[in-house]
């Protein structure tokens, strides 16, 4: 991705926020093919919570986080407590999106000497592949894509999510 933006830097940030060990793994070592992108976060028709953010000034950064439903619920349990409502769970997912996007944009701002802020997070519950393919389709040509698996090691189970980072050309 861009100079100064190391995706792995979000691991310690999330670990501090959530108080659990965090593991990040680059999803694909090989080249990502267009046809396979809807499967980045598992089965393309799997119900997922999706959180999307970009930068407000046209740096071309897009951040997409996908949580399988059971993992979104577990994240709600971890951040809010058992019995969290659907809206609280969405809030928890959006908060993670804010943290991740904020960390990236901070790195990119340092590298580019520009002030960068993320848009408010948009969220939905839908098929993972539908969200991924829609974001990819709306991205300009030449956009670079990276995908990382995030695993939060909570006490009783691990919580998994997929992070998709897209960066196009910087607007001038």
């Amino acid at each position: 991705m861009s100079e100064g933006a190391d995706p792995h830097a979000i691991g310690p940030v999330l670990a501090d926020l959530l108080g659990v060990p965090v593991e990040l793994t680059e999803r694909e070592g090989k080249r990502l093919h267009l046809r396979d992108l809807p499967q980045l976060a598992g089965p393309p028709d799997a119900p997922s919570v999706a959180v999307y953010l970009s930068d407000e000034v046209g740096f071309g950064l897009q951040v997409l986080l996908l949580f399988p439903l059971r993992d979104a619920r577990a994240l709600g349990d971890l951040m809010i407590g058992c019995g969290a409502s659907s809206e609280q769970i969405l809030d928890a997912c959006r908060e993670i999106g804010n943290v991740v996007a904020g960390r990236f944009l901070s790195d990119l701002a340092d590298a580019s000497h520009r002030r960068l802020t993320p848009t408010p997070p948009q969220s939905t519950v839908d098929m993972a592949g539908a969200v991924i393919s829609s974001v990819v389709a709306s991205s300009p040509g030449g956009t670079r894509l990276r995908s990382l698996a995030i695993r939060l090691h909570a006490a009783d189970r691990s919580i998994e999510a997929t992070l998709v980072l897209l960066q196009g050309r910087m607007a001038t």
């Binding site: 267009l34 396979d36 992108l37 809807p38 028709d45 439903l69 948009q122 098929m127 991924i132």
Partner: protein
């Protein structure tokens, strides 16, 4: 036994085996274009991602189904090779959703571009399920020539 045959982003597939069910799982702003004909030996599916090819080099994309203006002609050609007459073709289309809201323009443009292409070939659209704000999985039953659309329970999904 029916075998699902998923078609990825930008792909064009033709099946001569009626036990194969051409399908797309997790369709968002993209459009699935199924072409078929009564009694024909094959059906085809293009998974369209964008409305128009850049056209800078005049060549076809590495993914023949990526752009509507290349996908529909390619699918018609492939079906002709399989023995399906263009004049007999019928279409079923699905997709073009505004997932996450902000992709609405792409979805609508995809649907419009596919309609224009099909009109240009004189292919009537017999079945369609387009627009909205939810993703879809779509399957085509070659025996009954029927589009099967599946969505997550709408409008609200409890997590």
């Amino acid at each position: 036994m029916i075998q699902p045959l998923p078609v990825g982003l930008g792909e064009v597939r033709v099946s001569r085996d009626p036990s194969q069910q051409l399908c797309v799982y997790g369709l968002g702003s993209c459009v699935a274009v199924f072409l078929y004909a009564p009694g024909a030996p094959a059906v085809g599916l293009a998974h369209v991602v964008l409305p128009r090819s850049p056209g800078l080099n005049g060549g076809e994309s590495a993914e023949p189904g990526r752009y509507a203006d290349q996908a529909v002609p390619r699918l018609v050609t492939e079906l002709a090779k399989a023995g399906v007459r263009q004049t007999a073709l019928r279409a079923a289309i699905a997709g073009g959703a505004a997932v996450l809201g902000f992709t609405s323009a792409i979805g609508e443009q995809n649907v419009q571009a596919v309609r224009e292409q099909l009109r240009g070939f004189g292919i009537p659209i017999e079945q369609e399920d387009v627009g909205g704000q939810r993703g879809r999985s779509v399957l085509f039953d070659a025996f009954q020539r029927k589009l099967d659309v599946r969505m997550l329970s709408a409008p609200n999904i409890d997590i």
